[in-house]
Symmetry: C2
DNA sequence: ATACAATTATTGTCCGTGACAAAATATAGA
DNA sequence: TCTATATTTTGTCACGGACAATAATTGTAT
């Protein structure tokens, strides 16, 4: 019976992104995070400790080293957080995006959906994704970090968008001469929205898409690529993916795939990689992928 | 940088599903799996060891205990594998289902999709789900355990079905007097197909559905249920969900929700529970849920 | 000063082992 | 033939040391 207050060691990696091994080492070296025992005799981290760890994570992402900050008091950490957040300036955004977020905040899902569909009719699928969905998703992230909306808003919104995209992709027609692309997300990666956006755009431009969904073992991916004669395998990494594991995962898959199969990688989690490994294309923007798609394949049918 | 022959400890979980901790324990207890050092001085498991581990995994899934088989030679393991695959008798199933699976095996995804859509036109959405999708998904599971199809077939098939269901649900019209149902999957539960099937059926019968998707922290679920004034929260547990955590998760959520909000639970992972906790409805069949839906709500508008 | 190499410090992963609780299995008793 | 109780098996986690990769610092030559 989990209480509200104790997070078990086995859950800690999912909650914080730090492995249990590492946190144990921190405890040994810096005296934090300490574990507690609940009234029900369960051992784990308290909610407060979890938020403390998450703040430390943010500081590390901003350039601090563990030895400087793990071990500092909660008050001290929050002070440092305040320093770095003040540096981030308020971002302005599209009025259309703002309107959508307003509807979401008011919990008017029907309004949200119809508004999205209205925008959708006014442009191509690719434009819809790149000019409406991408900014919307970004701004939702910002709104969340400003504390204006809750995580569940984000979940529900993602699901609505995904549902719309799924429908749109289904009514897409592959064009002759364009490649077959196998889309997937690696193990431990739950975020599928980015993948779906990529699929929508590329399918809209004529590619034949096969989506395997999230959490696909590298080995299965390889076998599927073989069986379905895919020309390209496209992987998406979200911000939440353990940054240390991005490159190994890519290299691993690249190694397994035959050389004639291209490997495309994108998503905010992939951005930490500077140079792409040999035989891997790294995209920081879906638009670039469209460019390559046309450049590499359209001419083949001419 | 993984070579062809050596799999690093950090990759082992992704490759085999067993944690490094556990394999280390096996090594201590049964003398397997041993690690090797590559020419480049990298330490890890050889490819052969990996397949060995994967065979052991299959045996364990078929009821063997680790102490019986980890430690046995490769030859012995393969012999046992042969024994169990011979044991799985061919099960009879619908000819329509068989046809669909045939298409999948031939990697004819277009044929698969059009065949599904053809069947879809001949009945209501609920019937489609219960008479076509459910048997199909079951039989795919069987075919996999008979070794006839690969895991990736299953992934791709799920994704196609989900895409179809998403589209169908989107064109569903809520009926007045029926409840608002919040659908979600708990943390660590990636399987969404069952949830989607439930949503499709219940939405088809008039419920207003909000789908939060997979992997939703219990706490977020509670807040969302509040904000969106849901009458029912529906959770789905798959066979893969750690059986010892099913009941605690349910009890936890039941505790957080106001009493007037119902909690519905289903999925093969929930079947291990005999008596439902107080205030929780346990469904072993989507059909039962439809019954309750009508019984509890339809009369209210009469 | 500036670029670059060498040195030192920090950091995260993995190891081997022991402890332990949950699950599975065997055993005894009704 | 059950059911309750012991026993064994199993997987997770703690602990602290070893170590390689990475980052920071110092030294050196242009």
């Amino acid at each position: 019976m989990p209480t509200d207050y104790i997070v078990a060691p086995s859950d800690i990696e999912r909650e914080t992104g730090f492995s249990n091994d590492l946190l144990r080492k921190w405890r040994q070296r810096y005296g934090f995070p300490l574990m507690e025992t609940s009234p029900e005799n369960q051992v784990g981290y308290s909610r407060k400790t979890i938020s403390h760890i998450l703040l430390i994570k943010r500081l590390i992402e901003n350039g601090f080293r563990p030895s400087q900050i793990v071990g500092k008091s909660f008050a001290e950490i929050t002070r440092l957080i305040k320093v770095i957040t003040d540096e981030v300036s308020e971002q302005r955004c599209d009025s259309s995006t703002k309107k959508l977020i307003g509807l979401l905040k008011k919990h008017d899902l029907d309004g949200f959906k119809t508004q999205l569909k209205r925008i959708r009719t006014k442009s191509t699928l690719s434009e819809f994704v790149q000019e409406t969905i991408v900014p919307l998703v970004n701004e939702i992230g910002n709104a969340w970090s400003r504390g204006e909306i809750e995580v569940y808003h984000e979940h529900i919104c993602s699901n609505i968008i995904m549902r719309i995209l799924q429908g749109e992709i289904a009514s897409t027609k592959p064009k002759h001469g364009f490649p077959t692309i196998l889309f997937a997300t690696p193990p431990d990666e739950h975020h599928v929205l980015g993948l779906l956006m990529a699929e929508a755009v590329l399918a809209d431009h004529g590619a034949t898409s096969i989506n395997m969904g999230s959490h696909i073992p590298i080995n299965e991916l390889k076998m599927a690529a073989n069986s379905f004669k895919a020309n390209i395998v496209a992987l998406s990494f979200s911000f939440a993916y353990s940054s240390r594991r991005v490159r190994p995962t890519i290299v691993h898959l690249r190694h397994l795939l035959p050389t004639e199969v291209e490997l495309w990688v994108g998503g905010s989690g992939a951005r930490i990689i500077r140079r792409a490994p040999k035989g891997v294309r790294l995209f920081s923007d879906i638009h670039d992928a469209v460019g390559v798609l046309h450049h590499s394949y359209k001419k083949d049918i001419a």
